[in-house]
Symmetry: C2
Subunit: 317 residues, 2 copies
């Protein structure tokens, strides 16, 4: 683990990023563990959280750390994923185009979005050199304006992209216009802190989840900075509105949830539970707690742990 | 400020306590600032938070730190309060018996409740020696079982205690049975982490707040581990149910709030806002956020800041 100790000025993480690689494997425990290994072992790369999901057949990893070490661990983990995942046989409820599906970099501390974009593009080129997998750049790192949106790049998923990659408008940003035979393609980018928020509904009718997702997401006229799809959770007999809150400061979690609850009432369908996937900043939960509890003038520094964290980082600043 | 740096083993806070002294001054800015000064300056004593309130005419300070330095800062601040506050002329909406009204010590890390009790009693004897103010011990530090409850010691407040202190059942635990002529008495103890939670109601009828407080607090049959009084917020034209959640793990904030909302409906009175006074542990807000948002299986370590805090303290452990 990396340190903040005062005397370790040389290894002090001046720049801190978050990175949330998504791998197309949510079922085989041994493969999942092999992918995670480099993140666990690399000094300077902290494994914050990971979630493997059966229905999505997807592994979402949250890392925090120094850019250099994160890059090394990512390359090692990607190689494990590429040699173990065959996209020709992959099935799962979540859209995907590759074994290493998406790698977003998020600026956390002492690093600008511009630096993060530059870092993402440099990493993308090196990733392609090392693995042969074609790369698309998205969000802030997009080289073509229409590729800001992940859904544009992933349109039709692996199966369709395989046929359409030869069309100029679907050519990758790095590499030949041809998918890797088993690992597909990888989408790499830089973006703001994103919250993955799922709402599970008490029905087996996936159309309900799809309709609600449509009402919610900005692309079809819903809430700005919200993306969403409806999918079935076969193993649980539920459906899910699976959302990404792209800017939680502009559209808070409680507003998203209350809108889902409101739309669900149209079908008499109950919200069974919600799920925060991966990491969430304290501010996002505090905003929602404050709404529901009508807390006036709450200062995040009233939270004991945040205050202690600030004291500790002041101490080593 | 105290440090956690690896190399500073000698000053590493093996024991960490919270201390929340309450002073009977919420109006005069210069006196408030003079009371706070020792807390700001003392190494090893971290001033987490303070709130001065006009209606309560009370200053609530939250400290975290090492027992020794906290003791020194407390004695210095208390002397400022004692020489500036005259209980003969003090008025305010909150029950009180002294200029330095209550000093609870709360175990946070590497210290047991038993050690905290011993520390509180030792501090109480030294405080009396230095100031001449009689001391009562309460909660876990109580020497008489009936004094576990703060409300028993403060019954009738300063004005009544002044007359009744000569009765054996109201004798102080330290000092002669006689109030300090201007500073009254001080109640010192050890207890669990307590959350001060106020709910402001949209009415001027203080009886509504009193009735709701009665329905809520354990002493009159409400929720266990909840204390509460009703009071008027004259300056705002509102009334307040002012509560202490003595064990937030057993009765969560959301449950307390929903019961207040339920009782308030009897009078058609709306909850205007709520207030968390002083510090609150992350777990308390997470429990309520999870309730309102139906979040399933949330791990506190998914909160970015808590995970960073853990990484930092692991690092120096």
């Amino acid at each position: 683990m990396w340190g903040f100790a005062k005397e370790d000025k040389d290894i002090m993480p001046k720049q801190l990023i978050e990175c949330i690689p998504n791998f197309s494997e949510g079922r085989r425990a041994d493969v999942i563990e092999a992918i995670l290994k480099p993140f666990r072992e690399r000094k300077g790369c902290g494994l914050l959280d990971y979630r493997a999901d059966d229905d999505h057949n997807r592994l979402v990893v949250s890392l925090v750390g120094i850019p250099g070490p994160i890059e090394g661990a990512l390359l090692a983990a990607s190689k494990v994923a590429i040699s173990n995942i065959d996209m020709e046989r992959h099935q799962g409820g979540h859209p995907r185009v590759g074994a290493v599906d998406v790698i977003p970099f998020v600026p956390l501390r002492d690093i600008t979005m511009e630096e993060c974009v530059e870092y993402a593009r440099r990493f993308g080129r090196r990733y392609h050199e090392d693995t042969g997998v074609p790369v698309y750049f998205y969000e802030e790192a997009a080289l073509r304006p229409e590729r800001k949106g992940l859904e544009v790049i992933r349109k039709g998923q692996y199966e369709v992209l395989k046929a359409e990659i030869t069309k100029p408008e679907r050519h990758p940003d790095v590499g030949e216009p041809k998918l890797h035979p088993s690992a597909g393609a990888t989408v790499i980018g830089a973006r703001k802190f994103l919250i993955a928020f799922n709402v599970n509904l008490g029905t087996k009718d996936v159309q309900v989840a799809e309709e609600i997702a449509k009402a919610l997401r900005s692309s079809s006229g819903g809430l700005a900075h919200v993306k969403g799809i409806g999918l079935a959770l076969e193993s649980r007999g539920l459906v899910q509105v699976s959302m990404n809150i792209v800017d939680f400061e502009k559209n808070a979690l409680y507003r998203v949830l209350e809108l889902v609850r409101m739309e669900a009432r149209r079908w008499g369908v109950p919200v069974v539970e919600t799920e925060i996937y991966g990491m969430v900043p304290a501010a996002a939960l505090l905003a929602s707690a404050s709404y529901y509890m009508q807390i006036a003038g709450f200062d995040p520094n009233q939270m004991l742990e945040l205050r202690l964290l600030q004291m500790l980082t002041d101490e080593v600043a």
